[in-house]
C-alpha cells in the first residue's frame, strides 16, 4: 500500500509540474504536428509508390538526396542545439548574469558558441559523412570549393539568426527543449531535407514551395549543394553563374533574418532583466 501511495504522490507531483508548464504542452503538440507532416508526407509518397515526390530532378536515387541533406545539416543540426542550450546552461552555472555585467551580451555568447560548434562539426562532416558521399559517387568538384564554402558560411549565419530567436525565448520561457526540435525540424522540412520542395510545385502549395526554395537561405543552400555534388546526368548540375546568383539571394535573406533576430534578442534580453528571468533556468 505504501508503494502505491508513494507512486501516486510522485505521479500527481509530475502531473502538477507538467500542468504548470502550459507552454510546454503547446510545444509538445506542435512538435507532434511537425513530425506528422514530415514523416506523413514521406510515408504517403512511399506507400503510394509515388516516387515523383521524393526523386530529384532527373532520376537520381532517393539515398543521394538524403545523404546530401545529411552532409549539409551535419554542419548545423547539433551546433544549433548546442548553441540554443548554451543560455540555459550558463544560467544554471550562474555565469549568465556575470557575463552580462561584463558587457558580454547573450548574442555575443551565442555567436561564439555556434562558431565553436560549427568548427567541430565541420571536422565531423568531413571525416564521417563525406567519405559516405564519396562512396556513393557524390563528389565536390574542386572548382566549386569556394562556392560550397560560401554556401555553408552564409547558411551558418542564417542558423545564427534562428539561434538568436530561440535563445531569446529561453531567456523568458523555460523547458524549451521541444521548441528547439520544432525549429530544427521545421527548418529541415523547409530546406527540402526530406524531399525536394520543388517536387510539390504542382500541388496546391506549389507557389509557396517554389518561393521558399528560392528565397529561404537554407533551402536555396541545400538545393545548390545537391546540384553541385549530384552528377549532371542524374539530375544535378549547376553553373557558376547560377550559384553566385543564389548566393546573393541567400545573403540578402540572411542579413534580413540576422537584423530581425538581433533586435529580437536584444529586446527580450532587456525584458528578461525587467522580469527577472535572465538567470532562471
Amino acid at each position: 500500500m505504501g508503494y502505491f501511495k508513494t507512486l501516486n504522490a510522485c505521479t500527481m507531483r509530475y502531473f502538477r509540474i507538467d500542468w504548470r508548464y502550459k507552454f510546454s504542452i503547446v510545444t509538445d503538440a506542435i512538435w507532434t504536428m511537425v513530425t506528422v507532416v514530415a514523416f506523413g508526407t514521406l510515408g504517403y509518397a512511399a506507400g503510394q509508390g509515388n516516387t515523383d515526390f521524393i526523386k530529384y530532378e532527373g532520376n537520381s536515387a532517393f539515398i543521394w538526396i538524403l545523404v546530401t541533406g545529411i552532409f549539409y545539416w551535419t554542419f548545423f543540426s547539433r551546433p544549433f542545439e548546442e548553441s540554443v542550450l548554451a543560455v540555459p546552461e550558463e544560467a544554471a552555472r550562474g555565469t549568465l548574469g556575470f557575463l552580462v555585467t561584463n558587457q558580454v551580451s547573450p548574442a555575443t555568447m551565442l555567436t561564439g558558441r555556434l562558431i565553436s560548434s560549427v568548427f567541430k562539426f565541420t571536422i565531423i562532416a568531413a571525416t564521417v559523412v563525406y567519405p559516405v558521399m564519396y562512396v556513393l559517387d557524390l563528389k565536390i568538384p574542386p572548382e566549386y570549393l569556394l562556392e560550397i564554402f560560401l554556401i555553408l558560411l552564409i547558411s551558418m549565419f542564417f542558423m545564427l539568426a534562428l539561434v538568436f530567436i530561440v535563445s531569446a525565448l529561453t531567456l523568458v520561457v523555460k523547458k524549451i527543449g521541444v521548441v528547439i526540435n520544432i525549429f530544427l525540424h521545421s527548418a529541415r522540412i523547409l530546406s527540402g531535407f526530406y524531399f525536394p520542395l520543388s517536387n510539390g510545385k504542382d500541388s496546391e502549395f506549389g507557389t509557396a514551395a517554389i518561393w521558399i526554395e528560392k528565397y529561404l537561405p537554407l533551402a536555396r543552400g541545400l538545393v545548390m549543394i545537391r546540384d553541385i555534388v549530384i552528377p549532371e546526368d542524374k539530375g544535378g548540375g549547376i553553373s557558376h553563374t547560377a550559384v553566385w546568383e543564389g548566393l546573393q539571394w541567400m545573403l540578402i535573406g540572411t542579413v534580413i533574418a540576422l537584423v530581425f533576430a538581433f533586435f529580437f534578442i536584444s529586446r527580450i534580453t532587456d525584458l528578461s532583466r525587467k522580469w527577472g528571468t535572465l538567470e532562471f533556468y
Binding site: G94, L99, Q103, G276, L278
Partner: protein, 339 residues
C-alpha cells in the same frame, strides 16, 4: 552629489510568480542610500529581504521597476555600459566549467573583462592558491572555488566591488587572511557587501543598511552610529550545565535570549558585565561563559525589535506593550521581566 559614488533612489523591484498571471511579489520596497567614494556598505537582513536582488540591480543584471541608482554619476538603466565598466559582482551562484583548469578559467574571464590575468595572480599568491593553477576546477573545494570567484572579481580592478556572501564557504583561517587582503585592497575602492559575519562587516564597512523581510529599509547609517545608538554594549553567552529555569534566568536581572542550550545576556556597561559574571559564579552551574562586544547580528537583532513585523517578535511587554522576541524574558523598552 559630486563625491557620491553610489546614489540609490527609491528602488522598487517586483517579480511575478508567473509571467502572464498572478500578483507580483515585492522584493525591494523603496530602498535609498548614498555612498561617498571609498565608503563601504554592509547590507544586512533576514532571508527574503532582497539583499541579493539589490546587488543584482546595482550590477545591472535586473532592471528596477521604479526608482534608479547612479554609479559614479552613471544611471544603471540608461548608461549600462559605463556602469558595467566600473563594477564587479562576486556571487556564490557563479559556478565554473569544471573541466577547465584554474588558469584557463582566469584567462577566459580576464579576456571578457578586458583585464590582465596577472592581477589575479597577486591575490592567488597571497591566498596560497598558485600551486593549483594547472588543476581542473572539478578538484576544488567550495572554499577554493570561493577564492576563484574573488580572484575573478578583483582581476577587473573595479571602482565598486559587490560581494554577495563570499565568506560563507571560506574556513576561519583563510577568512582572516582574506579580510586583511580586502582591507588593504578596499582602500581605493567602494565595497558593497552582503554578509552577516561580524568581523567582515566591522572591518570592511563604514555604513550599514539593515533590510526587513519584504525589502524595505529598517535602518541605515554608519556602523559606529548604529552601534552607538544601541543601549547595549556587550553580550555574555553562558553555557549552563543543565537547562536554566526561567526564574533563575530572570533572577539575574538582565535581558536575555535563549540560543538552544545557551543563554545570551545583554548588558549596557562593563560594570553590569562584572556584576552578572560575579552572580553567575555564585550560582556555579555553568560550564563556560564568554563575553564579547555586540556583533552585527546582535545589532540587527536589536534593531528588528523596533520594526515588530517579524513573526518571531510577536510577544508584547505586559507593562509598556513594546514588542519582544518570544524567547526573551526581558523588555528592552521598560526593563520589566516577562513570564
Amino acid at each position: 552629489m559630486a563625491n557620491k559614488i553610489v546614489v540609490a533612489d527609491q528602488i522598487v523591484k517586483e517579480f511575478k510568480p508567473n509571467l502572464f498571471m498572478g500578483e507580483p511579489i515585492r522584493i525591494i520596497d523603496g530602498v535609498s542610500f548614498q555612498l561617498d567614494k571609498e565608503e563601504s556598505l554592509a547590507i544586512i537582513g533576514p532571508n527574503g529581504s532582497g539583499k541579493t536582488t539589490l546587488l543584482k540591480i546595482l550590477a545591472t543584471i535586473y532592471l528596477p521597476d521604479s526608482g534608479t541608482a547612479l554609479i559614479d554619476g552613471y544611471d544603471i538603466i540608461k548608461d549600462t555600459k559605463e556602469v558595467r565598466d566600473r563594477i564587479s559582482l562576486v556571487s556564490p551562484a557563479l559556478d565554473f566549467q569544471k573541466k577547465l583548469t584554474l588558469k584557463e578559467t582566469l584567462k577566459f574571464f580576464a579576456d571578457i573583462q578586458d583585464s590582465k590575468i596577472d592581477q589575479a595572480f597577486d591575490f592567488l599568491e597571497y591566498m596560497g592558491l598558485m600551486p593549483m593553477l594547472d588543476l581542473r576546477l572539478e578538484t576544488f573545494s567550495e572554499g577554493q572555488k570561493a577564492m576563484t570567484r574573488l580572484a575573478i572579481g578583483l582581476m577587473k580592478k573595479p571602482d565598486i566591488l559587490l560581494l554577495d556572501e563570499v565568506f560563507a564557504t571560506i574556513d576561519f583561517r583563510r577568512r582572516e587572511h582574506l579580510v586583511k587582503y580586502l582591507e588593504d585592497y578596499a582602500k581605493g575602492i567602494t565595497l558593497i557587501v552582503v554578509d552577516h559575519t561580524s568581523e567582515v562587516v566591522d572591518r570592511l564597512c563604514s555604513k550599514m543598511l539593515l533590510m526587513k523581510r519584504g525589502g524595505s529599509t529598517l535602518k541605515i547609517g554608519s556602523v559606529e552610529e548604529i552601534f552607538e545608538k544601541s543601549p547595549y554594549k556587550y553580550d555574555i553567552i553562558a553555557v549552563p550545565k543543565k537547562y536554566m529555569p526561567e526564574d533563575i534566568t530572570t533572577g539575574f536581572g538582565y535581558p536575555y535570549m535563549r540560543l538552544g542550550g545557551r543563554v545570551r545576556f545583554f548588558v549596557k556597561s562593563k560594570e553590569e558585565a562584572d556584576d552578572l559574571i560575579e552572580r553567575m559564579f555564585e550560582w556555579d552551574k555553568f560550564l563556560s561563559f564568554e563575553v564579547s562586544g555586540l556583533s552585527m547580528d546582535d545589532v540587527f537583532w536589536l534593531s528588528m525589535l523596533e520594526s515588530a513585523e517579524e513573526e518571531q517578535f510577536k510577544k508584547f511587554c505586559t507593562v509598556c506593550s513594546a514588542f519582544i522576541p518570544k524567547d526573551m524574558g526581558w523588555c528592552l523598552q521598560c526593563g520589566s521581566f516577562i513570564e
